[in-house]
């Protein structure tokens, strides 16, 4: 494993902490408690899976960590930044530099080529064209998509699209990767490819990974820790047994 010394030194410190985190929606007369008092700590370099059925609030928590949404009450602190206290402008900067996101539906911009999609965050970061090109090339090389650089997303398979999305999430070298059902739209083989790649980022680049999934098998296979949610509340938080992990891996191989 080629882990940089700085990353291993940082390992073990708290990357994400939420305290009594709540996110309530108002739907007519009813109040929907999507996230209802969740307190958790995720350490730097950890690979955490958020598990739960649909409507359990796992995606809502991810959006709060991503800075796409603001908590109704409670706090979420990422890399010592209290997200609730950041301005809209500061939140945009945070999303640009600190976190990278991948989604179930890939969310590539259809009118742009793969390269253009990948380098889009660099445009928001006002990086020069020359440097943008080399960084995009490097990121696409890492996900093995060099040959498809100038294709549009519609010309790619699902797996290729998700790899492009991963390259885009990596391009600004974020410390945290947030994945929302990344294999939800993929067959099990391509899903495995993508997950292997995410695990590589976690291990080799030392990125903290938070993945939302409803597939327990996937979480058991890749995550070091599993957090179970139901009705917006944390119901279980346990470390994944590496023995089971290897057993499952061995059983399927």
């Amino acid at each position: 494993m080629t882990t940089a010394p700085a990353v291993s030194a940082a390992r073990g410190t708290v990357a994400i902490r939420s305290e009594n985190l709540c996110r309530h929606y108002r739907m007519g007369e009813n109040v929907i408690r999507a996230v209802d008092g969740v307190s958790l700590e995720i350490h730097t370099g950890e690979f955490v899976a958020l598990l739960g059925s649909s409507g359990s609030g796992k995606s809502s928590i991810l959006n709060l960590i991503a800075g796409l949404d603001r908590p109704t009450s409670g706090s979420v602190v990422v890399q010592k930044r209290d997200l609730a206290k950041l301005s809209r402008e500061e939140l945009a900067k945070y999303r640009l530099h600190i976190v990278g996101m991948v989604f179930q539906s890939f969310n590539l911009i259809p009118s742009m080529t793969v390269t253009e999609n990948v380098e889009l965050p660099l445009r928001f970061a006002e990086v020069d064209r020359g440097r943008r090109d080399s960084l995009a090339r490097e990121a696409l090389g890492r996900v093995g998509l060099r040959a498809r650089m100038n294709h549009r997303p519609s010309e790619l398979s699902g797996g290729e699209q998700q790899r492009a999305a991963l390259a885009r999430a990596l391009i600004n070298r974020p410390q945290i990767l947030l994945a929302d059902e990344p294999t939800g739209n993929l067959d099990s083989h391509t899903g495995k490819e993508i997950m292997d790649m995410v695990r590589d980022f976690n291990r080799e680049l030392g990125m903290t990974v938070v993945m939302v999934t409803h597939e327990r098998a996937l979480a058991e296979r890749y995550a070091q820790r599993m957090i179970f949610l139901a009705d917006g509340k944390l119901v279980d938080d346990r470390a994944n047994d590496p023995a089971i992990d290897s057993k499952v891996a061995g059983g399927r191989a």
Binding site: N63, A66, L68, D69, R88, E89, A92, K93, R95, L96, H97, G100, M101, F103, Q104, S105, N107, L108, I109, S111, M112, L120, P121, R123, F124, A125, E126, R168, A169, N172
Partner: protein, 465 residues
């Protein structure tokens, strides 16, 4: 986001829904075209009128008369710095005016009413003298025949209405007027006999023998009037009225200036001024001073006032004319802008549609780190690009419309045997203003959609359909 990236992304987005954005842009260009058409019509009309007025010789001319013509009581109020003594408008004064800076020409106003005999019938009319420079006066544009062959030729140009009178063809009111060419045929080259009263104490070159004994009266205290006859050849018939501004005093028969001077025709003013004339030099009732440039008219007028004369120029009238044009401009501008304002609603509509269509895309951009400002700027850039494109196309379109209308109108004018006119002008400032205004209107229209796009909630936008 940097400006080149912004432009690139904006243009890419515009290309994505090409038809809709093209239609919106065409909307803007029609608005700009109407604005350009309206304002260039205003500018063109103003320029045409300025050209006409300059040619008419009214705007570069100061009419000078002696103060004596004014009533005593008023004289005090109007007198300039050298008040008191009012000067006689004689040859010395004329020469002095000729030497003032910016003066092109000074000529006396010779104007008298007399009988002209044509085919044994006398016709009473007002006659005035014209300098040769009057040839460029646009009143002689549609003239039949020719202008005077020389400044001293015994030739005459008739105004159309007088020609009608001579031929007994005065049309009843409302009936179509006979054309000048029709009138000219039986008149050109024919002779008229002018009966006039000659002032007896004129200069030496008087064509008539002097019956008075001038030796006994060195200061010209005695005064005689001799009845004379002069044969004149009709050389031209003018269609337009060169003296339409003069009202009842306007002349309908014109003589060459030097020739008219040499006749020493008795004029009304002679009786009033004769006692004041210091020498035998002629005394003028009024003098026209033409300046080199209409903008210099004020200075020349002041200088002549200081000499002790009363002046009149049409400058004040031209000032109020400019006022009229300013109002006309404002009206044309407002009506022209209306179409552009309607087009701006099209921009709002297009961009709001684009937000709905690109909801997800905006959500993605925000999720990967675009700030509110980035999204806002992107929509602004799209609005601005449509504005610039619409502005440029609109200016070209407006110019083309103007050319077509001008061309069509000139065909019509030609069929009415009126000389063609250029009444359409698209000055450079109008081009810059139109494009700038289109851009401004587009950006203002982009304000609301851009703000709405920037405020879009990424979580909502990214929620699965």
């Amino acid at each position: 986001m940097k400006f080149p990236d912004l432009t690139e992304l904006a243009l890419r987005n515009l290309r994505e829904s090409l038809l809709r954005n093209s239609l919106t842009t065409i909307g803007i260009s029609v608005g700009v075209a109407s604005l350009v058409a309206m304002l260039s019509l205003g500018t063109g009309l103003q320029q045409m009128l300025a050209r006409r007025l300059e040619k008419s010789g009214l705007f570069d001319t100061v009419f000078v008369s002696s103060r004596r013509e004014l009533r005593g009581g008023r004289q005090e109020e109007r007198s300039g710095p050298t008040a008191g003594e009012s000067r006689v408008l004689d040859e010395a004064a004329r020469v002095e005016m000729e030497h003032l800076p910016n003066v092109k020409e000074v000529y006396p106003d010779i104007r008298f009413s007399t009988d002209l005999q044509f085919e044994d019938k006398p016709h009473l009319t007002m006659i005035s003298a014209l300098p040769l420079s009057a040839k460029s006066n646009d009143a002689f544009d549609g003239m039949q025949g020719r202008f005077f062959s020389s400044d001293t030729a015994p030739e005459v140009i008739l105004q159309k209405s007088f020609a009608e009178e001579l031929l007994g063809k005065t049309p009843p009111l409302g009936a179509p007027e006979p054309s000048v060419a029709e009138l000219a045929k039986p008149l050109l080259g024919k002779e008229l006999t002018m009966h006039y009263a000659q002032r007896g104490d004129g200069a030496d070159q008087s064509p008539a023998p002097r019956p008075e004994n001038r030796e006994n009266e060195p200061a010209g205290a005695s005064y005689s009037v001799v009845s004379r006859e002069q044969k004149l050849t009709i050389v031209g018939i003018s269609d337009l009225d060169p003296e339409s501004m003069r009202g009842p005093m306007r002349a309908r028969v014109f003589l060459p200036l030097r020739f008219a001077e040499s006749l020493h025709v008795m004029q009304l003013v002679d009786l009033r001024e004769i006692s004041r004339a210091a020498s035998k030099q002629p005394v003028y009732s009024s003098i026209s001073v033409r300046v080199k440039d209409p903008s210099r008219i004020e200075g020349v007028e002041d200088a002549i006032k200081k000499m002790g004369f009363t002046t009149f120029s049409i400058l004040d009238a031209s000032r109020s004319l400019q006022q009229v044009f300013r109002v006309l401009y404002a009206f044309l501008g407002i009506f022209g802008s209306l179409a552009l304002i309607v087009a701006s609603i099209g921009i709002v509509n297009t961009l709001v549609m684009a937000i709905l269509e690109r909801r997800r895309e905006i959500g993605i951009m925000k999720a990967i780190g675009a700030s509110d400002g980035d999204v806002k700027k992107l929509f602004f850039a799209e609005a601005g690009a449509m504005g610039i494109a619409g502005g440029i196309i609109g200016v070209v379109l407006g110019w083309a419309i103007g050319q077509v209308i001008n061309f069509g109108t000139n065909i019509y004018l030609k069929s009415q045997s009126i000389p063609p006119e250029h009444f359409w002008a698209v000055p450079l400032w109008l081009v810059a203003f139109a494009i700038g205004f289109a851009c401004f209107v587009s950006l203002v229209s982009g304000l609301y959609p851009a703000g709405r796009a920037a405020k879009l909630d990424p979580v909502q936008a990214l929620r699965y359909e």
